[in-house]
């Protein structure tokens, strides 16, 4: 209220109106600043560090709520026993100065000491440990990136290098893939909400996506910070669609990288992973096709060879040879057969003659010739004396006739 009051009174009275030029006011501020503070010790976190070819270092010192520009000329930074890095918590000694040309103020650093990890770094480590313990990084939860990726969801800035790189790779690969971009801010306060909402939205409304690429191009730790936020980590973890994280610099890991199903070091690599698989498979398929064709050709020519051998074999090419052989064999058999039969026959004949001789020898007529005789009674041969009684008529057959006799007496011996 006082300021406004002063303003009103100075309007009315030209004598009180003091007009500064920009240079004047900046010069005055410079004097006030430099006189009131002189050299001070200041503690903060290094961020946005740049070293120009002149060797001078420019960076920002910050804490949770505020930041101040800092410069460390090469004369001083050459004496540093460690290299300054983004995210490093430092204690510096220097002079507050104003840079009149631009109306900015800064601290000119003469000396710096490392006091520990920066708060962002600490927050990163804390969250990382907490989510790790909770199991969000467990391999067991990692979803496999589909073998064939047809539809890719991309969550990144519409105008960023990441999208450009992804699309360039896909273009170069001539990949027949569908890309659906969900544009989000990838830095600033809203980034974490937009990124996590995008992941949720795509999961709810575009379940047909095969994979999500979530990331951005490189930047300082602060620039990448959204990807270190818990809400983003949880959205990635909850995603049903497999997530490939691809955040900026190759070396820096973000929390998103740990939670994602796969981490690609850069957006280009993420696109390569997605496209390469496809290309590999296409290559593999054409190779398999070639193999199949050459294999079946081999099989067929193997069969042809076999068939040719069959055709050339004597049985088919000169069948009469077999016939000739057989004729000869049959002749041979016939000869054998005839000679066998002949042999058989002459043997039988010999036996027959022998038997006739034997029969002849045994003939009863022959025995009668030698003086033996046979007695008959009523036509029956008498073998025992009991067969006849006294006065019986007995015929005695000799070799040349028959004696009719009457029995005088029967004596048993």
């Amino acid at each position: 209220m006082t300021d406004l009051f002063d303003f009103e009174s100075s309007q009315q009275n030209d004598k009180v109106r003091k007009v500064y030029s920009v240079t004047e006011i900046n010069n005055e501020i410079k004097i006030i600043l430099e006189d009131s503070y002189g050299c001070i010790w200041l503690s903060g976190e290094v961020s946005g560090l740049k070293q120009y070819s002149s060797g001078h270092m420019y960076f920002t010192l910050k804490d949770e709520n505020s930041q101040i520009s800092a410069v460390m000329f090469s004369t001083y930074n050459q004496k540093l026993k460690f290299s300054l890095k983004d995210g490093m918590q430092v204690l510096v000694y220097g002079k507050i100065t104003a840079y009149v040309n631009r109306g900015t103020y800064q601290i000119q650093v003469y000396h710096a000491e490392e006091t520990g990890k920066g708060t962002l770094q600490e927050a990163f480590e804390n969250l990382k440990n907490r989510l790790f313990k909770e199991g969000l990084f467990d391999v067991a939860f990692k979803k496999e990136i589909p073998y064939i990726v047809n539809k890719i969801g991309v969550v990144t800035s519409k105008d960023g290098a990441a999208l450009h790189d992804i699309l360039s790779v896909l273009n170069r690969r001539f990949s027949n893939v569908e890309v659906l971009i969900y544009p989000v801010r990838v830095q600033g306060e809203q980034a974490k909400f937009e990124i996590s909402n995008a992941i949720k939205y795509l999961n709810e409304n575009h379940k047909d996506l095969d994979v999500l690429l979530v990331g951005r191009g490189g930047g300082s730790l602060e620039d990448l910070w959204a990807f270190n936020e818990e809400i983003v980590a949880r959205a990635i973890f909850a995603s049903e669609i497999p997530v490939i994280s691809c955040v900026g610099h190759e070396v820096d890991y973000t929390i998103a990288d740990f939670v994602a199903d796969l981490r690609a070091p850069t957006p280009s690599v993420a696109a390569e992973i997605v496209a390469k698989n496809r290309a590999d498979i296409e290559e593999k398929l054409s190779l398999i096709k070639k193999q199949l064709v050459s294999n079946i050709k081999d099989s067929i020519s193997f069969c042809e060879e076999k068939l040719k051998n069959f055709k050339n074999c004597r049985a088919l090419s000169k069948p009469y040879e077999i016939y000739e052989e057989k004729i000869q064999y049959i002749d041979e058999l016939r000869e054998k057969l005839i000679s066998r039969i002949k042999n058989n026959f002459s043997e039988k004949q010999k036996n027959f003659q022998l038997n006739i001789q034997k029969l002849d020898l045994l003939s009863p007529l022959k025995i009668l010739n030698r003086g033996y005789s046979v007695c008959f009674k009523d036509g029956q041969v008498i073998k025992k004396v009991r067969q006849v009684c006294k006065n019986d008529i007995v015929d005695i057959k000799l070799s040349d006739g028959i004696l009719k006799t009457k029995v005088e007496n029967v004596e048993v011996l």
Binding site: D159, G160, N176, V177, L180, L292, S299
Partner: protein, 80 residues
């Protein structure tokens, strides 16, 4: 053809090629394997050709997202 069956088809194809290469098959079996193999190759190729290249961006209109064709700008801007 689902994603899993695609992978299974590829594995089956490898088996078929191996079998045709390593053993002296009779021609009927070889022809059957060849037939199966070629049909699997065709199915897989078909799956790969299923999608045509398409790049779309979601644009919010009256609180709803709509797909629009995305045309790439020349060069890249800084991250925003």
């Amino acid at each position: 053809m689902k994603k899993n069956t695609f992978e299974m088809s590829l594995k089956r194809l490898e088996v078929i090629v191996d079998e045709m290469e390593n053993s002296q098959l009779d021609i009927d079996k070889a022809m059957k394997l060849f037939e199966e193999g070629i049909s699997l190759v065709n199915q897989c190729s078909q799956k790969l050709d299923e999608t045509k290249k398409k790049i779309e961006i979601l644009v919010e209109k009256n609180g709803k997202f709509e797909k629009e064709k995305f045309t790439q700008k020349e060069g890249t801007d800084e991250e925003k």
